[in-house]
């Protein structure tokens, strides 16, 4: 499964410029079918604060923003190395959850 990046919440200043982006990335891996179906999720979320500059080149008004555009802001702000770190962490979470298959009850009961 490819990791999905998405936006959870935006906040704006008094000039309707975006100054807060709550983003998240996630993935899910499914195993089994029917009654044996299982789902294992990996998840990461955080926020980034910005200082809007309406005079900057390419400034986009709030109502004209797209999700893809904001995700691009986030990834640009994080840098490619941090993006890779996050996606690796999500994959690790899924792998660890899949390993939690052992019975936790007492064997003599």
């Amino acid at each position: 499964m490819a990791i999905t990046w998405d936006i959870k919440r935006l906040e704006t200043d008094n000039n309707n410029g975006v100054n807060y982006v709550h983003y998240f990335a996630w993935d899910v891996e499914e195993t089994g079918e029917g009654l044996d179906a299982r789902k294992y999720h990996g998840y990461y979320d955080a926020f980034i604060e910005y200082t809007p500059d309406p005079s900057a080149d390419g400034y986009t008004a709030f109502n004209a923003l797209t999700k893809e555009q904001v995700i691009g802001w986030v990834k640009a702000s994080l840098g490619s190395e941090q993006v890779t770190t996050i996606e690796s962490a999500i994959a690790t979470q899924i792998a660890e959850k899949k390993q939690l298959q052992g019975r936790t009850s007492l064997p003599w009961e």
């Binding site: 709550h22 998240f24 009654l35 044996d36 299982r38 294992y40 990996g42 998840y43 990461y44 979320d45 955080a46 926020f47 770190t85 996050i86 962490a89 999500i90 979470q93 959850k97 939690l100 298959q101 052992g102 019975r103 936790t104 009850s105 007492l106 009961e109």
Partner: protein
């Protein structure tokens, strides 16, 4: 002519005046005045008398016409001078009276008589007598117009010949009532239009003269048929039809071929029947009837019941099936007041007042309803039940079983053994220890076949697939969920409310806590999935987060509390990684606002 008119003289004698005195004294003057007054008085009287005339005073013929004020006279338009004459005066006598008719001369013409003026009284009696005697008219003149008059005109009896009557002149009103006899009418001259509608009564039709052709098709109603036998002649091959309405047959009516009728008052029709009792109605082929008051129709039926109807093919109405109705094929009725239709169904002796339809169904209890295929309802002491569908069985009193059977290692019918149970679906079961319970869906169950002593599942409910409610007031729903405890609730997939009072399991593979094969506590609520249920601690609320039956985990639970123990256990937090910062927690999957720990310090991720 005379010159004077007075015939008698009127003389004036003046009184003698006294002689004049020598000397007038007053006395003499007075005497002279008195004499003068007398003198003039006499003159006045003489003149007055002279001017007065008596008849005798006037001389006859002394006054000429010219001295008269009126010298002519006029009578009836004729004027004459006084003393004149007219021997033939043309008087107008229109106002004259007293002129005697005998004085008339000449002839009174018809024109002198006013119209309508001569009455019969002015005619001679002989004329009136002649008119009255009708002898006045002595000539035979032909009368060409109307003869009118206000009084009777008598014509001699038998005198008016036919030629004197105009063609088409004699109307119905001129013919006396009840006088025209058949001899006055030409043979075959009375047409249908001359007859009044509805006027021909039965007595006007000769006996045995109304032919079939004179009766309109479909015109004879049942009310016009005499309450008598309706018979067909022997060897009469012509079919006849009895239409809509009632036909009363007071004795035996036998129609068809080779029927055997031993009872009176029966009606038998068809071929090779046998009616054993009176008052039976049998039709069809090869039927057998015994007893009395039966109504049998169809082929090969056997009816021994009383006052029943057995129709169809090879049905059997036994002696106990009084007042039952049996139709269809191969059915058997042994109980009274039943309705049995379809094929190879049966109602046993204990199934009175039941209704059975479909194929191969059985009603064994009173007042049952069975419809479908191989369904079964009631028993000798289990009444009022309903079974419908495919192989459904309602065996408890007032129970209901519907739907169908299925195969699950064996045939599993939808079956209700308990009283007042209700089950509909596929292969569901309500056992005897679960009265008033409901099982819906597929292979669900209420109660159990061999419960421990005293264990019941009354008022329980199982819905879904293979879910089972084991105890009173319990509910099991979803997929293979089980409610083991009294008043317990299990819903979801493989959820189990363990055998404690009021335990609730909601989710996937969750089980309220159990220890040593029995519920750890009562009032336990478990949600989520695959919780670690095999514990020794009380968990009144627990959240399972396991990933399978062999990977069970309880993230947190709320147990019994005390002053020394809150009873709240956050197992998942304890078992989670320790993060020193929010950033590290984020990469570990802790969301914003999520709880994590740094060693034994609980934190909330804020950044």
């Amino acid at each position: 002519m005379a010159n004077k008119i007075r015939n008698t003289a009127r003389n004036f004698h003046a009184p003698a005046l006294p002689n004049p005195p020598a000397e007038y004294s007053q006395a003499l003057t007075h005497q002279r005045d008195t004499t003068l007054r007398i003198y003039f008085q006499n003159i006045d009287e003489a003149i007055t008398q002279a001017l007065q005339y008596d008849t005798s005073d006037i001389i006859d013929g002394s006054i000429p016409n010219s001295k008269l004020e009126n010298s002519t006279i006029s009578f009836g338009g004729v004027t004459l001078s006084l003393g004149g004459s007219d021997a033939t005066p043309a008087f107008d006598l229109s106002d004259a009276t007293g002129y005697p008719t005998s004085s008339l001369v000449g002839t009174i013409t018809t024109a002198q008589i006013a119209d309508d003026a001569v009455t019969d009284a002015k005619l001679a009696n002989s004329i009136n007598s002649a008119i009255a005697a009708n002898t006045a008219k002595v000539t035979n003149a032909t009368h060409t117009g109307e003869v009118t008059g206000a009084t009777a005109l008598t014509i001699a009896d038998g005198a008016v010949v036919t030629a004197r009557i105009a063609d088409d002149a004699v109307t119905g009103d001129k013919i006396a009532h009840n006088t025209i006899t058949s001899t006055n009418m030409n043979t075959a001259s009375v047409s249908a239009t001359a007859l009044q509608s509805n006027a021909v009564t039965t007595t006007k039709i000769a006996d045995a003269n109304v032919t079939t052709a004179k009766i309109a098709d479909d015109a004879v109603t049942p009310a016009k048929l005499s309450h008598d036998y309706l018979r067909a002649d022997a060897n009469d091959s012509t079919a006849f039809t009895v239409g809509f309405g009632a036909v009363t047959v007071t004795n035996t009516l036998t129609v068809g071929y080779n029927s055997v009728t031993t009872g009176g008052g029966s009606v038998v029709a068809g071929n090779q029947h046998a009616a054993g009792g009176p008052n039976c109605l049998v039709s069809g082929y090869n039927n057998t009837v015994s007893g009395s008051l039966n109504n049998v129709s169809g082929q090969g039926n056997t009816a021994s019941s009383s006052v029943g109807i057995t129709t169809g093919y090879q049905n059997t109405s036994y002696s106990g099936a009084d007042r039952s109705i049996i139709g269809g094929y191969g059915n058997y009725g042994l109980a009274e007041n039943c309705l049995l239709v379809g094929s190879t169904n049966s109602i046993s002796t204990g199934g009175a007042n039941s209704i059975v339809g479909g194929y191969n169904n059985i009603s064994a209890g009173n007042n049952c309803l069975v419809v479908g295929y191989q369904c079964y309802a009631g028993a000798s002491t289990k009444w009022f039940s309903t079974a419908i569908g495919y192989q459904s069985q309602a065996l408890g009193t007032a129970s209901f079983a519907g739907g169908r059977a299925t195969y699950d290692g064996g045939t599993k019918r939808t079956q209700v053994d308990a009283d007042a149970g209700f089950s509909y679906g596929t292969g569901n079961r309500i056992y005897t220890n679960a009265p008033s319970s409901v099982a819906l869906g597929t292979l669900t169950a209420c109660g159990e076949p061999t419960p421990a002593s005293g264990v019941t599942a009354a008022q329980s409910m199982a819905i879904g697939y293979k879910s089972i409610a084991y105890k009173d007031n319990s509910f099991a729903g979803g997929n293979q969920s089980y409610a083991f405890g009294d008043t317990s609730f299990a819903f979801g997939n493989g959820s189990v409310a363990s055998n404690g009072f009021s335990n609730i399991a909601l989710g996937r593979g969750v089980t309220t806590p159990v220890s040593g094969g029995a519920a750890t506590t009562t009032g336990a609520v478990t949600v989520g999935q695959w919780n670690n249920f095999n514990v020794t601690t009380d968990q009144h609320f627990s959240v399972g987060t396991g990933t399978g039956d062999f990977s069970r985990y309880t993230s947190m639970y709320v147990g019994a509390r005390s002053s020394s123990d809150s009873g709240i256990v956050m197992q998942a937090l304890k078992d989670s990684a320790s993060y020193t910062t929010d950033s590290a927690a984020a990469l570990g999957g802790v969301p914003l606002g999520g709880i994590y720990r740094t060693s034994n310090t609980v934190k909330i991720r804020m950044t």
